[in-house]
């Protein structure tokens, strides 16, 4: 029981993370935004698989918004670009896998989210390799 309580403490919820965001410094904001986005990717997959598309799209919106915020903070402080890019790449891959499990009618928002995550990656890569090295 104590172990479970301890584990729960190390795994904050999305709402808790969102609440922490405003008080955090810019460097920590990057990490918190990435954490929120990663949690919401898992939630998006769970909701889509459960056929709860409306809630799934809401979680998907968070994935994109917080990934873009992570990019913005990262570029602002010029830190954590590499870790953020790797995290966003993984999220993009997971969403691609989710896309492959969806019917054609449900694919558009996920495809759009993947495109926006790829734009986030591009911006981060461009900041790390300003002359365009890939």
């Amino acid at each position: 029981m104590l172990v479970a309580a301890g584990m729960a403490k190390t795994e904050p919820t999305v709402e808790e993370l969102k609440a922490r965001l405003s008080a955090a410094n810019a460097g920590d904001k990057v990490k918190i935004c990435v954490q929120i986005a990663e949690k919401q990717v898992a939630e998006t997959s769970r909701l889509y698989q459960a056929d709860d598309i409306a809630k799934g799209q809401s979680a998907l919106t968070d994935v994109v918004s917080y990934s873009e915020l992570a990019r913005d903070y990262s570029l602002q402080v010029r830190k954590h670009q590499k870790q953020t890019e790797i995290a966003v790449r993984t999220m993009s891959r997971k969403l691609t896998e989710l896309l492959h499990s969806l019917g054609r009618d449900d694919q558009a928002p996920v495809r759009d989210a993947i495109d926006r995550l790829e734009k986030v990656r591009d911006d981060l890569l461009a900041s790390m390799f300003p002359k365009g090295a890939k």
Binding site: R93, T96, E97, R104, E118, A126, K134
Partner: protein, 185 residues
């Protein structure tokens, strides 16, 4: 305002990179097939193998065709697609293993394919008559693919061995369709 060629190049780089990475490794008909087998690992995993193999077959075709245009880029893109599909295959294997699904038959198909993929990728790496400039354009993605397949081959064999052990103790779910109540269309 005068825009220098350097600025043009800088502006173009992100969009080119974007276009290169935005391709879905699967076609829509392939996605439909994958989706329809989501609860049936025996069907789904061999589909990934089939689609990954198709990319390497296509790769051999474009490389042996003297009329192929922009061969290094096509080689890069097909290797990239292969890598994405192979990663997705591995993610699916992990999911089924976590669910304790019996994927022994599918794993044997995957392990056979691993050997074939290793041979094809190494043949490309060792191919004669390729200029250094050309090879450099796909070297990174090729080495990455070889490394991934090499590591995964060991993992797949270990997983099969683990599954055989679990099967002896009847700890595997043999019929995922019954277990989930969802049938493949």
């Amino acid at each position: 305002m005068k825009i220098t060629p350097w600025i043009c190049a800088l502006l173009l780089v992100p969009s080119v990179a974007l276009a290169q990475r935005h391709r879905d490794p699967l076609t829509q008909p392939e996605i439909d097939q994958i989706r329809d087998t989501s609860w049936e690992p025996k069907l789904r995993l061999p589909l990934y193998v089939q689609f990954a193999r198709a990319r390497l077959v296509k790769l051999e075709e474009i490389r042996s065709d003297p009329n192929t245009k922009d061969r290094p880029k096509q080689t890069h893109d097909l290797l990239d697609d292969f890598q994405l599909l192979y990663d997705e295959l591995n993610d699916n294997i992990d999911t089924y293993v976590d669910r304790k699904n019996d994927i022994r038959k599918a794993l044997k198909v995957v392990i056979d394919a691993d050997t074939e993929f290793q041979a094809k990728l190494r043949a490309l790496k060792d191919a004669a008559g390729v200029s250094t400039a050309e090879a450099q354009q796909y070297e990174f993605v090729l080495n990455n693919a070889i490394e991934t397949v090499d590591n995964s081959t060991e993992d797949h064999r270990k997983l099969l061995s683990d599954q055989e052990e679990l099967a002896k103790h009847k700890k595997l779910i043999k019929d995922p369709v019954k277990a989930t109540g969802v049938s493949p269309e």
